[in-house]
């Protein structure tokens, strides 16, 4: 229906793709045959009740968990399976830093200044010259409106500021896709906005994003696609606002009702 589908016809290769991913922790099956492609410039928002497997799915994409069955592919190349062989491991190492992730609890490194947090990976992983890394970090800090916090330590920053630093840190590796796991859930309501503004700005600039969120406003207005998960399955999937205006399944309707009551 909308313009974005025309941008990438069905034949295009997704930036990242979960291909029939099942995940079990012991006997607890958390994901069941999840297939989810994320196309270039997509902003896919994953919503769903607590415990439905959203974080686990994101962690599979981020290569922090191995799927029990199925595969993760990046631009058509398998980078993760239940028992990765040498080729897959090599492919994963090559593209690992192209998949960025923003965590619920920021996970900034407290013993490093904001600037050091940003340049660490470019210096060590990309072997970028130091002055170049610093110049880039300063540009990214300006972008998230924190140029003046360059030499501050994370503990001195508000939660909203810390999360914006974490976003800048992820951007410093120029990822092809950014994963967000409830990036605003740990924040006081008044601090959420500043983070959401940065996320929306990224989306407008064409960043490919996969966003687990409880912010229905963000999913409706910024997301290009909404994915509804329940009990480890993708129950419903719709472009942008369509999911909110006309949910098809009972489960989705019930889920959305909670937010109306709020």
């Amino acid at each position: 229906m909308s313009g974005h589908e025309a941008d990438h016809p069905m034949s295009a290769t997704p930036i990242i793709l979960a291909d029939g991913v099942t995940k079990r922790f012991g006997t607890n099956q958390v994901l069941t045959r999840v297939t989810l492609p994320v196309m270039e410039r997509d902003v896919v928002c994953i919503v769903g009740p607590s415990g439905s497997g959203k974080t686990t799915l994101l962690r599979c994409f981020a290569l922090l968990e191995l799927p029990s069955e199925g595969r993760i592919l990046m631009e058509g190349t398998p980078i993760s399976t239940a028992e990765p062989d040498r080729a897959i491991k090599t492919a994963a190492r090559a593209v690992r830093s192209e998949i960025g992730m923003v965590f619920q609890h920021f996970n900034l490194w407290p013993h490093m200044s904001v600037l050091e947090n940003l340049i660490e990976a470019p210096l060590r992983v990309k072997k970028m010259p130091r002055d170049q890394a610093i110049a880039m970090a300063e540009k990214l800090l300006a972008k998230v409106d924190l140029a003046d916090k360059r030499d501050a330590y994370p503990a001195r920053l508000s939660g909203g500021q810390q999360q914006r630093v974490a976003i800048a840190r992820a951007l410093a590796m120029s990822p092809k896709v950014l994963l967000f796991d409830e990036a605003t859930s740990a924040l006081d309501p008044e601090l959420r906005r500043e983070v959401l503004i940065v996320m929306r700005q990224l989306a407008l600039e064409g960043m490919t994003m996969l966003v687990v969120t409880h912010e229905m406003g963000f999913a409706r207005h910024v997301g290009t696609r909404t994915v509804f998960m329940d009990r480890g399955e993708i129950v419903e999937e719709a472009p942008g606002a369509a999911f909110f205006d006309a949910p098809k399944t009972e489960r989705a309707k019930r889920f959305l009702q909670q937010f109306e009551e709020e």
């Binding site: 981020a62 290569l63 922090l64 690992r96 830093s97 998949i99 960025g100 992730m101 965590f103 609890h105 996970n107 900034l108 490194w109 407290p110 013993h111 660490e120 990976a121 060590r124 992983v125 503990a155 974490a166 840190r169 992820a170 590796m173």
Partner: protein, 221 residues
């Protein structure tokens, strides 16, 4: 009923004699700490090894050391090692080795909990950004873990100052031994050992208080 004529001059008269013992106490404690830190690292590495046999060795050393009295260990090192290896060990060397072995078993736990105190998320952030496991250990885990291990290591130093008094049993001339020697000649154990207890307290107490303050500051960060 407690009519006792204090003769503190018997202690002051041997002040230098006792202080040279204190010097020995501090040297033994410092040398032992350094050795125990290295030993602790080895035990920790054995504990975390990928190989079962090595893990078993690490765990066994820890269990044996933690569940036998330190004095017995010391006597064992002093009297048994020479028999087994057919070499003579100086009492001082035996004291340092014995104490270091004992303390290493505890320090290995200090290292382990220091490493475990670093939140998993910090390592995952590094992993997602592409840092190798070694890079992330060196740059993210170690600097934070070291900060957490410094106060417990300082506490270990305080413990060693006290434990080194066991050297008296195998006649290492640290301050407690000097006190025993002095009281055998001046027949004034009350003054002598009171003085020595005060010396230990004046060194250990401020250190312990400082460490407690330091630990609280680390936790409140």
């Amino acid at each position: 009923m407690f009519k006792y004529q204090f003769r503190w001059d018997t202690v002051w008269g041997s002040f230098d004699f006792l202080m040279s013992g204190l010097q020995m106490t501090l040297i033994v404690s410092a040398a032992t700490l350094v050795l125990a830190m290295i030993g602790g690292l080895i035990i920790a590495l054995l504990d975390m090894s990928r190989f079962r046999a090595l893990r078993w060795i690490g765990v066994s050393i820890g269990e044996v050391v933690r569940n036998t009295p330190i004095l017995v260990q010391l006597l064992w090192v002093y009297y048994v090692l020479p028999i087994v290896f057919g070499i003579r060990i100086e009492a001082l060397v035996a004291l340092i080795i014995g104490l270091a072995l004992y303390q290493a078993a505890f320090i290995s736990e200090v290292y382990r909990s220091g490493i475990q105190s670093v939140p998993k998320g910090h390592v995952e952030a590094a992993q997602v950004l592409g840092l190798s496991p070694l890079q992330s250990f060196r740059r993210i885990v170690l600097p934070q873990a070291i900060k957490m291990t410094l106060p417990p290591l300082a506490s270990n130093f305080v413990q060693l100052i006290k434990f080194s008094s066991l050297g008296a049993v195998i006649s290492v001339s640290e301050i407690t031994r000097r006190g025993m020697e002095l009281s055998a000649t001046n027949f004034r154990p009350l003054e002598t050992f009171t003085f020595i207890a005060v010396v230990y307290f004046l060194i250990c107490w401020p250190l312990a208080m400082g460490i407690r303050f330091w630990e609280r500051r680390l936790q409140n960060r």
